[in-house]
Amino acid sequence: MLSLAQGPAVELRGVVFSYGDKRVLNGVDLEVFHGEAIAIMGRSGAGKTTLLKIIAGLLKPGEGVAKILGCVSSGSCFDNLKGKIAYIPQTLGLVEGGSALYNVLLAKAPEKPLRFITGIWGGYYVSKALEALEAVGLLEKAWTRVEKLSGGERQRVAIARVIFQGAPVILADEPVSNLDLETARDVVGLLTELRERGVAIVAVMHDRDLAQRYFDKIYVLESGVLRVIS
């Protein structure tokens, strides 16, 4: 469990980002604390994915500061955050050809490269990965290749991976798109339950009802600026 006294897990101050001449983010401010789950909504092309990528350190802001777990995303300290950020893209970021278990174990590859390369993970890691799959109700499909799983099951594998990863920051880009309402509720429920472990969650959502039910705050990204609506 992480302490709230550590300050915000995610902190953006005046973040500006442009694709060429097109300014997508125009001075975004945001604070997300450990144990807090926030939803970001907005029209397609509003810059929600760009914002998540900036938090994940995959894009550098043109202006302003993005701090994750106290490290500025453009600084050398950010490189030491290996494995502390979990990013679930719209396409889930699962490795096809690998089983559900392989995809979950992949989260520890940066820490345990030799185990990953040899495939010899040992009982401890395998049992922890299986526990994560069990938590999302996929234990019996642990050895099934992810491309053979349904959309909902794939979403669950992605969530099992972030559970196993134990990352203090989870970024999810439309984690329940293309799912029926019941499955979407299950998946969002599983994701937001991780708050109890002190995890900070930033998710891009389209469904306002789901966002209101499961998230602490809802923001809307409009004209490059983020504002709280709920």
Binding site: K82, I88, V95, G97, L106, A109, P110
Partner: protein
Amino acid sequence: MRIVVVSLIPTAALAYILGLVDPGLWARAGLNISRFILLLGVRNDLWGDALAAVYETLIISVFGVSCGVLLAYLLAPLASPLLAPRTIAIAGRILANSARTVPAILWAILFVILVGPGVKAGALSLAIYTSTYLAKFFYEALESVDRELLDSLRAMGLRGYILAFALYTHIRRQVISSILFMLEYNVRTAAILGFVGAGGVGYYILQYLSILDYPAVLTFVIATIAIVAAIDIASYILRTRI
């Protein structure tokens, strides 16, 4: 249909320039082929030698593929700007591309000079040749992966070879398909490496051709066709099961 017309015009023009429209040429060719067929037959006493030579060719090919896969697996991530620093990727790509322009037969000549004639030269030449082609196939496949997958793995902290190995799992169909293609290709190529002394069935075919022993040549050719067909069938079965 347009492609047929477009192909037909240069084919006809160049056939005329090359002298291929001469009716006398085709009459002589017909006469020669009928004489050649009359000389054909097989030498049953050579089947043992032919199988041994084909086995040698197969060993050269399989070594070429397995060693080439190892080299390409390590080289391809270095030639991809998505996985390696830009300068290293450019250098890696130039190295792989330049090496690929050298045909297998020239590598064979080089290795015959370096390690002497025989299977060693053939095996090493095919290993280098295969690695340059597979490196290209692999880095192109690595670069075709979905950027969101790449972002997700990078955000988790995967870098360099660890990231590459995860991506290899994702593109394993293309990887296996490329390896099977090179295996088929190598068996055919290994069959002619013997022409320059690099071992395999080609050496025997050249020797028997030089003394005009066509039945012996045909015996070795049939054995080669059999092994190429067997590899093609095995490869097809494997492809359908990936």
